[in-house]
């Protein structure tokens, strides 16, 4: 113990000094990582399905430009869009699983008040069902009889919420297309009877653990997830699996009824844009160029997505030059 020399008031003052020092210390610790980082940070809001390829592309981007840290955040596409438009969180890139999310949530009315006025399509995907060897009917399911196996009594099918998640309504659209393609009236209804509300989550990847633990037998999901999680999946015909942008017109016949509206099928094309107020818009354009170029497209294909040949854009004239150089206009459907 140090001898007490201070009068009481001094003791109080040192207490305050200690308190201030402690608060400053806390402030330093809290602010530390930000303050210490002289690096630039590229913030990406992306659909959850993009986590694996984007992580790989992030790594390439950081190696080519060591002054940059890429910080991706993944979630439902609509959720990520609303974090920009409703919560005003700063993001340099928004990448969504359904290109329609961008015009719906980020385009303004008549060119005014929008968060962006262009987007690029950079990857394709397909709806499929995944299963495990333990799933009911797994031993005799084929790409021909799948809708009969899935409609058997006692089969539990998981799917995503069609009111909030693209893969939820895309599953309904695929089943609607299957009904016409296989000429089996009532197909969708019989399959969906085994996919009741209790097997619905806000995003289908939340159900992968339930599939692996045997709580559900089949899960409607993207082909990319099937590849990345090494799950058995059905090879559905491209007439119904929403994977082919050239079939856009045919897919529109697949209708999903949701709480808000009836949604017509569209090819599953992932789209990205740079929202207004992006803190690092120039870096974001370089990142998108990497994503659209041969390196990025190779990673996209490796992780179970379809590459875009070529990448396409809506209103490419508004995109940064580095992006514009790599895209063709979006085909009219």
């Amino acid at each position: 113990m140090t001898p007490r020399e201070n009068p009481p008031a001094r003791g109080g003052r040192t207490l305050i000094e200690a308190g201030i020092a402690a608060l400053c210390g806390i402030a330093l610790v809290v602010a530390g990582p930000e303050a210490a980082a002289a690096k630039e940070t590229l913030t990406i809001f992306a659909a959850g399905t993009l986590a694996v390829p984007f992580r790989a592309i992030d790594g390439q981007f950081e190696r080519s430009d060591p002054g940059v840290t890429v910080e991706p955040q993944f979630g439902g596409s609509v959720m990520m869009a609303k974090r920009i438009t409703a919560l005003h969180e700063p993001a340099d890139i928004l990448a969504v699983a359904d290109y329609n999310v961008i015009p719906k949530y980020l385009f303004g009315q008549d060119g005014k008040g929008g968060w962006t006025d262009w987007y690029v399509g950079f990857a394709r995907n397909a709806i499929t069902f995944v299963y495990t060897p333990k799933s009911k009917g797994a031993h005799d399911i084929t790409p021909q009889n799948w809708y009969e196996v899935l409609a058997r009594p006692g089969v539990e099918i998981g799917r995503s919420n069609p009111d909030t998640d693209p893969s939820g309504y895309q599953t309904l659209q695929m089943l609607s297309l299957a009904e016409a393609y296989y000429k089996v009236p009532g197909l969708a209804q019989r399959v969906l009877a085994n996919a009741p509300r209790r097997n619905i989550r806000d995003t289908e990847t939340a159900l992968i653990s339930a599939l692996q633990l045997g709580q559900i037998d089949y899960l409607a999901i993207y082909r990319s997830d099937a590849v990345q999680h090494h799950l058995e999946s059905l090879k559905l015909p491209s007439e119904i699996d929403l994977s082919d942008p050239a079939r856009a017109h045919d897919y529109a016949a697949g209708i999903a009824k949701t709480k808000s509206s009836a949604l017509a099928g569209r090819p599953i094309v992932y789209a990205a844009t740079i929202p207004a107020g992006a803190p690092h818009a120039a870096l974001a354009a370089i990142y998108l160029a990497l994503l659209l170029g041969p390196q990025g497209q190779a990673i996209i294909a490796r992780d179970g997505f379809g590459a875009m040949k070529p990448p396409v854009a809506v209103n490419p004239e508004h995109a940064p030059p580095a992006v514009k150089a790599l895209v063709k206009p979006w085909p009219k459907s």
Binding site: G12, N199, I200, D202, A206, S209, A210, L213, Q215
Partner: protein
């Protein structure tokens, strides 16, 4: 700096300024914390318009979700109390090997990420789980998308609060009071219910309140087992995805209002009991 002088202990002198300063400093620090806690809640409470609040209150789905949350959290707090208070007593009074280990295990759910909790619960209570499979086969009891699943998930994440609060409350009861009661001829069951439990009641009631609060706020672990039927937190998340901030905030404010009202009732109840019968 002055030379080292061994002052006499300052037994005399006017300490009033220092005491005032202490209170001032403590108030300042406390107000900072209070601001961090209260400002976001206050901002949230003011976010939705009256029209949005009315619309949310009239929405049957929102009301159902609120009611289901209240029901689930009340059941979870009751289950945690009935099963947790005896364990807390054993931990406070028992002198057995592994006591510290058991106490640590009970607290462990506090540090498990809630999505991980949900997966762990599914492993045990799911269709093929070691409890879920026999429960469905022999009792017809399912935890997937049922109230039972909501309660199990809530108990898992919230029970540590019950056990901790009750254990501290039991530890604060002087064992000599129990010994006196025993020496006066009361049996061990009556001593527990007539002496120990009333003395520890305040702490147990606090534990019940915390458990209820933690349970009603749980999202991830509940949503893993039970997305439909929707509890209030799941409903609020869905409203945000479907409509936006205003609708979600309105439902959140309703949940806050109901919870706050319940807290005030609980607190009144707990402190009233303490004032009447605590006497420590």
């Amino acid at each position: 700096m002055a030379a080292r002088v061994s002052d006499p202990p300052a037994a005399t002198g006017n300490w009033a300024p220092a005491a005032a300063l202490l209170r001032l400093v403590f108030w300042l620090l406390g107000m900072v914390l209070l601001a961090v806690v209260a400002l976001p809640l206050l901002r949230l409470a003011l976010a939705p318009s009256i029209a949005n609040l009315v619309a949310a209150a009239r929405d049957v789905e929102v009301r159902d979700a609120l009611w289901l949350s209240l029901e689930g959290a009340a059941l979870a707090a009751l289950v945690a109390m009935v099963l947790g208070v005896p364990l807390a007593y054993l931990l406070a009074r028992g002198r057995f090997r592994g006591r510290g280990f058991i106490a640590a295990v009970v607290d462990l759910p506090l540090s498990v990420p809630h999505t991980v909790s949900g997966i762990a619960l599914l492993m045990v209570f799911g269709r093929r789980g070691i409890i879920g499979a026999p429960a469905e086969a022999y009792l017809g009891l399912r935890f997937w998308a049922t109230l039972a699943g909501i309660v199990v998930a809530m108990v898992f994440v919230a029970a540590p609060y019950m056990v901790s609060a009750a254990r501290i409350a039991f530890a604060a009861v002087d064992p000599r009071l129990e010994m006196v009661a025993r020496s006066l001829g009361l049996g061990p069951w009556r001593v527990f219910f007539r002496v120990t439990l009333p003395l520890a009641w305040h702490g147990i009631a606090t534990g019940f309140t915390l458990t209820f609060a933690r349970a009603i706020s749980e999202f991830a672990a509940v949503a893993m087992l039970v997305y439909y039927p929707m509890t209030a937190p799941v409903k609020i998340y869905e409203l945000f995805l479907r409509f936006g901030l205003d609708e979600a905030a309105a439902a959140a404010v309703l949940l806050l209002a109901v919870t706050l009202a319940l807290f005030l009732v609980f607190r009144h109840f707990a402190y009233g009991e303490a004032a009447a019968g605590g006497g420590r």
